[in-house]
């Protein structure tokens, strides 16, 4: 089945080209960022500056986000056929998605509201916010609000929408090398906008503070407590190259 049949250029752009661009930016951006901006790779915690709001806002937001991400994994990455095969009918799935999703939504929106308000209105926190922080926050807020509108508005309070038949297929299709633009092209607008906003977040991710998510230090669980380091002999970089080997001239220094 060719998911690109009968689509116009507009649809090709939004549902195929843009996603691939975003993904490429995501990958290459992370490679660049990890190699060349270790110093900027941090959670940029502001707990020192303000604690009371952070105390609830941050854990609630983060755990809520994990729940939402788990929901996305189940809903988008796991094919509908698998859940059906293990005996979960679509209706049950829909109610689970709506209720668990709503719970996650409440946590996420509650958390992000506290955190965003804190960042906006607490002078000390605002003072240490960079431009790209605002960009990431705004994009995140858009994605979250749209996602909640879907889950609560459509899934819980509305008639429900079986996005697994469309959005999920399209999404998986991108990675299977068989993008199915028609699938998403006929989804409700709110799902389309949510997906597009998500691509924006993905494209911006490697250049923002969001990279701290990859640094969740699970390895701490098995690391010995005290770390020693010794100086090791190293080959010095060629002067003027800042270590970037592609700047090297001629014979190895």
């Amino acid at each position: 089945m060719n998911g690109l049949r009968g689509i116009n250029g507009f649809q090709l752009f939004w549902w195929v080209i843009l996603p691939y661009l975003a993904l490429a930016t995501f990958v290459i951006g992370h490679v660049w960022r990890y190699r060349y901006d270790q110093f900027g790779w941090t959670s940029r915690s502001t707990q020192l500056q303000e604690q009371r709001l952070l105390k609830w806002g941050s854990p609630v937001f983060h755990y809520g986000t994990f729940a939402a991400i788990a929901g996305h994994v189940i809903g988008i990455l796991i094919p509908e056929r698998w859940t059906h095969d293990i005996g979960i009918p679509e209706n049950a799935y829909r109610w689970f998605s709506a209720s668990a999703g709503t719970l996650a939504a409440v946590l996420v929106i509650g958390g992000v509201a506290v955190l965003a308000a804190r960042r906006l209105f607490v002078a000390r926190v605002r003072a240490t916010t960079s431009a790209v922080d605002w960009v990431a926050l705004i994009l995140l807020a858009i994605v979250i609000v749209l996602g909640i509108a879907e889950t609560v508005g459509v899934g819980l309070l509305g008639g429900g929408y079986d996005y697994r038949q469309s959005v999920s297929l399209w999404f998986r299709g991108l990675f299977a090398g068989n993008p199915d633009a028609t699938a998403i092209a006929h989804a409700p607008l709110i799902y389309q906008v949510h997906a597009t906003a998500a691509w924006a977040v993905i494209a911006v991710w490697p250049f923002s503070r969001l990279v701290h998510a990859w640094s969740y230090p699970v390895w701490y669980l098995w690391r010995p407590f005290v770390v020693y380091r010794s100086r090791v002999a190293s080959r010095p970089n060629e002067p003027g190259t800042s270590g970037r080997r592609w700047r090297r001239i001629g014979v190895r220094y």
Partner: protein, 523 residues
């Protein structure tokens, strides 16, 4: 036995005048930039007092350092590794910036641009973080010289555990200054608390540092340190701490705080220690035994077995020689006048203190007071103004005996040398009781009173041959310390634009490139 070497410091509190030169010079060198306005790698506290940050010594509240679990094993007071991972979004034990110091500046421009005719303009304090008006309520040195003490100093954790009442009235007033830097502990809880492993202890000299590339801003090191000597840079979002001025130490120079100390009260030297013995010593059940336990971890550099074990372990020969000359080892282990700060935190601190003598509190009532020789305080050590128990709570987990002995040794040196200089008769029984020979008294006198620069700082330069190369390459290779907000490498030196290839700058200083890789040699 696994011998390792560490650069340690001793501070002689008998001589600290609380001038804060050390704080200012350290700040000018390391923390004079946005993000670190509230940070004092070196600070000086007036004791009795709450310190900086407020009440940092109360680990029931702040959960820094280590404690023993029911089975007598060491565990971080703040909780297990899992707890840290679960509370990574909000660290419940983190002090706020107000606990430290809400840094302020002034709107100086208003003074210069005030319209003509303004009667002597004056400006108020503004937050260095937000630019808004700020009414200072606490700071890094709020209690200088006992300001506010009757109100606040009673909450000093060292007083809380004293059975005798500490009087806060004019007749019994006492104070001394406590300058503090990072302890560069043998069993650092900050390193243990860092989930990403960004903090590390250097094998060669024991200096504890934060890898600015690896730090991810989880801020558990800040709460993990019981001395609260790791700070969070609110601009870069990374932790920073006292570096023991490692570029200077590597060149054989003393730290900036030591170099500029007006009172000449700091000592720097090598101590050899047995790395295998550290954990067991830190887990000593009774906190009052921790002082002796830590002493037992130190290795005697005069012992030829230790010397050969050290050299076999890779410690260079000149370092072993320096360990033998070490003023720090002499004060700590030979003369036993220096004591650790809060050993009950179980981190095995490596900046020790000589407790301060003080005048006899009530001469008429003090037992053993000799009005004919008021300098002879040997017999009245227990009646000095600064309560022995207070010093013991600070330095020996409450055990008064070692503090008493240290003070008596200082008193003996004073009375013997005074008598010698004035040509008077003196009795040696006090010295003998403390097992101090004439040579010991003279050595202590020379170290503490004459205190020559070359005697106080015995720092062997680092060895370059096994380390890598030269500052010239290092600086040009895009050192991360140079980027915005970072500590910086200290301006343009001969290394920029192609410096000398020899590895030494024009002042003869040796420059090393620190390329640090985790070795996996952990405890």
């Amino acid at each position: 036995m696994r011998p390792m070497a560490q650069v340690c410091m001793v501070m002689n509190l008998d001589k600290c005048i609380g001038c804060h030169t050390c704080s200012v010079t350290c700040k000018q060198t390391w923390t004079n930039r946005p993000g670190t306005e509230y940070v004092y790698f070196n600070n000086v506290e007036t004791k009795p007092g709450l310190g900086y940050p407020a009440r940092y010594e109360d680990q029931e509240r702040w959960k820094g350092g280590w404690t023993l679990d029911r089975k007598g094993r060491l565990r971080l007071r703040a909780g297990s590794r899992l707890r840290k991972l679960l509370t990574i979004f909000y660290n419940p034990d983190l002090p706020t910036i107000e606990d430290f110091h809400d840094p302020f500046t002034y709107d100086y421009a208003r003074l210069i641009t005030a319209p003509p005719g303004t009667k002597s303009p004056s400006v108020s304090a503004r937050s260095a973080l937000t630019g808004r008006e700020l009414n200072p309520r606490w700071g890094a040195n709020w209690e200088d010289d006992l300001a506010g003490a009757p109100q606040r100093a009673r909450s000093d954790p060292n007083i809380a555990t004293m059975s005798e009442r500490v009087l806060m009235d004019f007749e019994s007033v006492f104070l001394f200054y406590l300058p503090r830097i990072c302890e560069h502990c043998l069993n650092p809880s900050c390193v243990a608390s860092c989930p990403s492993g960004a903090l590390y202890k250097r094998s060669e000299d024991g200096i504890v540092l934060v890898d600015q590339d690896r730090c991810r801003g989880w801020r558990f090191c800040v709460s993990g340190c019981p001395y609260k000597k790791v700070y969070f840079n609110h601009r870069t979002g990374k932790a920073e701490k006292c570096t023991l001025c490692f570029p200077r130490i590597e060149a054989g120079l003393p730290t900036i705080c030591s170099e500029t100390c007006v009172g000449r009260l700091r000592y720097l030297g090598i101590v050899l220690y047995d790395a295998d013995a550290v954990t067991a010593a830190a887990a000593t059940p009774d906190p009052r035994d921790l002082y002796e336990a830590q002493l037992s971890v130190f290795l005697d550099p005069e012992d030829t077995a230790v010397q050969s074990a050290a050299e076999q372990a890779g410690i260079p020969h000149d370092w072993v020689v320096a360990a033998r000359r070490s003023p720090v080892y002499a004060l700590i282990a030979r003369h036993k006048v220096a004591l650790p700060l809060h050993p009950e935190f179980r981190t095995m601190p490596m900046v020790w203190y000589i407790p301060p003598l003080s005048p006899v509190a009530d001469a008429t009532a003090a037992a053993g007071y000799d009005a004919a020789d008021p300098d002879a305080v040997f017999a009245t050590i227990d009646a000095l103004r600064i309560p022995l128990q207070y010093l013991a709570n600070l330095f020996t987990a409450g055990d008064v005996a070692p503090v008493r002995d240290a003070l008596r040794r200082l008193a003996v040196v004073r009375s013997v040398m005074r008598a010698t200089q004035l040509g008077l008769e003196h009795r040696n029984d006090a010295a003998e009781e403390l097992q101090m020979s004439t040579a010991d008294v003279e050595d202590l006198f020379r170290l503490l009173a004459i205190a020559r620069y070359e005697d106080r700082y015995v720092i062997p330069p680092a060895h370059a041959e096994d380390a890598g190369r030269l500052l010239a390459q290092h600086a040009l290779s895009g050192c991360t310390l140079e980027s915005e907000g970072a500590p910086g490498m200290g301006g343009k030196g001969p290394s920029t634009g192609g410096g000398p290839v020899s590895g030494r700058d024009l002042a003869g200083r040796l420059h090393l490139r620190l390329v640090a890789e985790p070795t996996g040699r952990d405890q």
